[in-house]
Symmetry: D2
Subunit: 328 residues, 4 copies
C-alpha cells in the first residue's frame, strides 16, 4: 500500500466501448465527490490525456446516464501513448491540473498502458474491466458482457423465427475474437445445434456428417452460432465449407456485428459497473494502487494490473456435451 | 362478383416470411369458423398444396400466436407451382378436400401464382400483402413493414452508441432489394446523415465532398443508411468506394440482415393483419374474388390480384431535403 | 396569411409528456437554423415563458435526442398562464428577446392557451399534437400514441404469459381518460376477449354472462383491457363488480400507468414528429399562422388552432364485432 | 444415495410462474430422453398429479420454447395436495403410469410438498428453484429473477423519462413480498434516490427530511423504489404518508405488478434453467435424491429439499450506503 494521498482524480474509458461504461463513470464521479475529491473526465481514452481534453465533472455531469449505452467520455485507441514521448506529455497535462490518481475503464490493452504509465510516473491507476468479451484474468464478469450476450440472444431469437418459417440452415456470427463466451452463452440460450468457439476444437467432419444426416431425414433446419475468432475464419468462410459439402442446403449467414456493443445496459451490467466504480475510488483513497477491481464468486476481488491480462478461459467439455443433448 | 359459394377454405403463407403473418392466419381461421366455414392450413406455401400438406384448423390452432414472429404455417417458394403440372396436382389435392376458396398471405410473386391458378381452376383467391418491403400497389401498408423498420431503428440506435463513442463513419445496410422504405424511414428515425435508396439517384461526388469536408472540420462521425438494392451495390461495395476516396476514415459496415424479418410484431402489424384477415374471409363470402385486401388512407381497399404488383413508389425529393436539414 | 415576418422563434412542450416530443423539438430547431432563424428553447411549457427560463439553442443542443423519451425542454401545466397577468409577463419576456413566433408541442389544452395568447398579442403560434391519446381533431395521428400503444402491447404480452400459466382472469387498465384508442388497439393486438372504452357502452350483464359461461365450461382464462376513463370507473372498480358476481373467479388487476408515457419512441412517432416539426417552421415562415400541423390520410394537414380540440372519435361497432370474433 | 433406479420421470411447474421455467422443462425432457428415460409432463403442478393430467413428452414437445415466458405445463397452487388423501391419489396416478422420479420447478412451498410426498411414498424428487424472488436457501440464483429485475429496470427507465420531464416524485412498487432483491437491484440500476426493502429498516423521518430539503432547494424530482412487502405497506400507503408530510409535492405511484412475471427470459435465466434441468436428471439417475439443484459461486450445488427454504438474505448496510452516494 502506498502512502500517496489522492485529491484529484481522472477517469477515462479506453479501447472498444461496452455497455455499462457510463454507469461506471457515474459511480467514480459521485463516489469521488462524496469523498471530497475533484474528479476530471478525460475524453477519448489516453488520447485525451495527450491532447489535454480534460474537464472537471460534477454530480450533474453524470445525471441520467446510467441507462445509456456507449460512453459520454468517448473512447479511442492511442498509438502515441505507447511511446515514452506520448506518456511524458500525458503526465505533464495531468500534473498541471494536479491529478494524482486515475481510473481506467477498458480492457487488457488499456491496463498494460496504465501499468507502464504508473511505473514511469508516480500516478496510481485503478483498472475496471470494461469489455464485452469477458476474458480478463481476475474477474468472473466484465462490464458489458451481459448486455452484449442478451443483445445477441434477442437477435438470434428473431432469426429463428425466419429459420423455422423457411426450414433453413443459419450460421450466425457473434463477437469474440479470442473468447467464445458470447457464442457459448447465446448459443445455449437460443437452442443452437452447434456452437463454434476458439477455446474448443470443432471436428468439421462430425459437423458435416451431422448436417448431412439431418438433410436426409427431413428439411435441414439448423442453427450454428460461431464466434468471430473461430477456427474456420468468419461465418462466410464456414458457409463456403458447408455449401461445398452440402450443395443443396439453403444456407444463410448473419453477422451480428456492432449492435452487440451498444444499447442500454442490463441490470447486471449497471450493477457491477456501479459497484466496481465505487470500489475503484475507495481503492485510490486507501492506497490500494495499480489493481484491477474485479468480481470473483460474487465478491469484489483485486488483481495487480499487470496480472489482469487477456485470459482464454477453459470452457469445459461438459458444456459442449450439454449443448448437444439439449439441442437434439 | 361470382356466385360461387364457399364452404371450405385454405390459408397459406408464401414467399419471404414477415412479422404479423400469424396474426393474419389467426384472423382468417377465426372469422372463417365464426361464419361456419371449415378452415384448412396449408404448410409451406404452394409447396404444401402440391405435397398435400394440408390440415383442418380450429380456433385453438391459432391460440396465442398473434404475438409470434414467423409463420406457424411455414413458408417457401415453389418452382413446381409455376408449372401447369404442379398446379394440376395442387388443384386435385384441394378438390379432394372440398376446399373452394383460398387466402394467400405473401408478396406480388405469390399473387401472380394465385391469379394464374384462379384463371385455370375455379377456386377464388384472396391475397393479403405480407412483406416487409411495403412495395405492393393497392395498399399503403403491408404486414411486417412496421415491425421490420422498428427492428432496424433499434439496431441502428445501438450502433449509434458505438459510433459516437468512437467518432466513426458507419455504413448500415437494411433490407429492401427494390424498395427503399425501410432505409428511408429507419434512416430519418435514427438521424442518419445520408440515406441511399433505389428510388433516388445519389450523387456520389456530393457524398464524398460532404464527408471530406466533415473530416476536415472535425472527427468524421457520420451514419449512412443504405438499402440493399442501392445503386452502389451492397454496403461493403460502398465502403470500398468511400475508403478509396477517404483513406484515413475509420469506416465500419453493418449488414442488419435477417433480424429484420423476425420478432414479435408491432401493434400496427397485428392490427392490419387482423383487419385484413377478417376482410379476406368476408370477401370470399360475398363473392368479391381474386382481389388483394389492402389499406389506402386508413380504409380497407380492394385491388384485383393482377394489379397488386410490385410498385416502386415515388419517394418525394422533399423527404430527401428534410433528411439533410434535420441531420445537419 | 399574415405578413408578419419571423426571425426568432421559441419552442416549448406543454401538458403531459409523450414519446417523440424530443424528435419534434429537434426538427423545429434544425429547420429553424437552416432557414436562418434563431431558435430559443423554453423550459417547462408556459411556466418557462413566465419565469423567463428561455435559452438559445443550436444544432448541437438537439444532437442525439431523437431516440430519447420524455422532453429535454421539460413540461408542466401552468395555472398562471391562464390569467391575463401571467400572459402579460410571458409576452414581455418573449418581446425582450425578440421572439416573434412560437411552436407549441402539446395537447388541446395547450393549444387553447396558445390561441388566447395569440389573440391578445401579435405572436403567431403553431401547434403540434403531442399526446399519447390520439384524440385531437385535425389529425389522424398524434406524437406519442404509437409508442404508448406498443408499450401497452408489450406489457400485456408479458401478462398473458402469466395468465395462461395460471388460467386467470386479468383486468388490465391502460391510459385514455377520454379516448379509448390505446385500449382498443392494444386490446385487439393482444387478443383481448373484452375491451371497455369510453366511446362505446358496454353491457355489463352480457359481460358477466359471458364470463359465467366460460367459468362453467372450463377454467376462466380471460383478458379484459379497459381504458382508465371507462364507464365502470377504474380497473379496481370493475374487478369488484366482477368478483361480486363471480365469487370463485381468480381475478387480477394490472394498472399499466406511467410506463406508457416514456420510453424510446417508435419509428412512426419519430417520423411524424420530424415531419410535423419541419412543417411547423415552414408554416411560420410563409405566414400560415395559428394552426396545428396534423396528418390526415398520410398527408400534412393544417387546422386552425381553435378547431384543434379534443375529439371523441367514433369507434365503429364493426371494430367491436371483430374483437369478439377474433378473440373467440 | 438411494439405489432406486428411475426409468420414467415426471416434470411439473408449481407455485407462481417465472420466466425460464420453459427452458428448465426443455432441459429435463431432452436430458431424460438422451438417457433413455420416458418423460411425462404434469399439468398445473400438483393439481395435475391429482387430476391425472399427465402426458408423455418427446423432444418435439419442447421445441421452440426456450425463449417463451410462462410455462407450457401451466402452474397452480394445490390445496388438495396438502392433505394425505390428495397425495395418495397423486401417488396412485404416478404409479399407474410407472413414474418413479419427479422434477419440481417452483419455490419453497413446492419443495415442502415434494419432501412430504417423498417421505410418504418411494418417489424421489428433485427441486429446481423457479421464482422471481431469489430468496431460496441453497442457491445464489433462481430461475426468473434476472428477467424480472430487467423488466422492472426497463419499466422504471420509462417512468424516469416522465419523472424528469415533469419534475415529479415517483414511488414505484416492484414485486418481492418477503425479499427486497428486485427492489434493491432495480433501484440501484435506475439510480433510485431511495430503496425500501423488507430486509432493512427505513427511517421514515430521515426520508421525509431528505425530501423536504430537496423540495426547498429545487423542484422535487425523486425516485423511490419499494418492495411490495415493505414496512410501510404498499406503495399507495407510502404515498399517503409522504403526501401527509409534504402537501405540495407532486407524488405519483406506479405498481409494476404482473408484468414482472412474464416475458421472454434473459440469457442468464435460460442458461441457469438449462443447466439446472440437466443436473436434475443426472441427479435422479445417480441416486442423488430429494435435493434442490442450485448454484453457489457459479458452481452447481445440491441442498437437501427440506433445507431449501425461503431465506431472508442479509443485504449489507454497505449496499444501502452505496445507493445514497451514487444517487446524490
Amino acid at each position: 500500500m502506498s502512502k500517496h494521498k489522492v485529491t484529484k482524480i481522472g477517469v477515462l474509458t479506453s479501447g472498444g466501448d461496452s455497455p455499462g461504461m457510463n454507469a461506471a463513470i457515474r459511480a467514480v464521479v459521485r463516489t469521488g465527490i462524496y469523498h471530497g475529491l475533484e474528479v476530471f473526465g478525460i475524453r477519448r481514452g489516453y488520447s485525451g490525456m495527450i491532447d489535454n481534453d480534460i474537464f472537471l465533472m460534477d454530480s450533474k455531469s453524470v445525471a441520467n446516464i446510467i441507462q445509456r449505452g456507449g460512453t459520454i467520455l468517448k473512447t479511442a485507441r492511442s498509438d502515441e501513448f505507447r511511446t515514452p514521448e506520448g506518456r511524458a506529455i500525458a503526465y505533464k497535462n495531468l500534473k498541471r491540473l494536479g491529478i494524482d490518481g486515475l481510473v481506467i475503464i477498458g480492457g487488457d490493452g488499456s491496463f498494460k498502458g496504465a501499468q507502464t504509465f504508473s511505473n514511469e510516473y508516480d500516478i496510481p491507476c485503478i483498472g475496471l474491466p470494461g469489455t464485452i468479451d469477458k476474458d480478463i484474468a481476475g474477474s468472473d464478469v466484465t462490464i458489458g458482457f451481459d448486455t452484449a450476450v442478451n443483445t445477441a440472444v434477442e437477435a438470434i431469437d428473431k432469426i429463428r423465427d425466419t429459420m423455422d418459417a423457411h426450414d433453413r440452415l443459419f450460421i450466425v456470427e457473434v463477437m469474440g475474437r479470442d473468447a467464445g463466451y458470447i457464442a457459448l452463452h447465446s448459443g445455449i440460450a437460443t437452442g443452437a445445434e452447434n456452437i463454434i468457439i476458439p477455446e474448443t476444437k470443432t471436428d468439421i467432419e462430425e459437423l458435416i456428417a451431422n448436417l448431412t444426416e439431418k438433410e436426409k431425414r427431413k428439411k435441414l433446419v439448423n442453427l450454428i452460432v460461431v464466434a468471430e475468432g473461430g477456427q474456420f475464419g468468419d461465418a462466410n468462410e464456414l458457409a463456403k465449407i458447408v455449401k461445398g459439402r452440402l450443395p443443396n442446403a439453403d444456407v444463410r449467414v448473419c453477422i451480428l456485428g456492432h449492435i452487440q456493443r451498444g444499447g442500454s445496459p442490463t441490470c447486471e451490467d449497471r450493477l457491477i459497473a456501479s459497484h466496481m466504480g465505487y470500489y475503484a475510488v475507495e481503492s485510490l483513497l486507501i492506497g490500494r494502487h495499480n489493481v484491477m477491481v474485479g468480481v470473483i464468486n460474487n465478491k469484489i476481488h483485486y488483481t495487480p494490473l499487470n496480472h489482469a491480462v487477456k485470459q482464454k478461459q477453459t470452457i469445459g467439455q461438459e458444456w459442449m456435451k450439454i449443448v448437444k443433448i439439449l439441442a437434439s
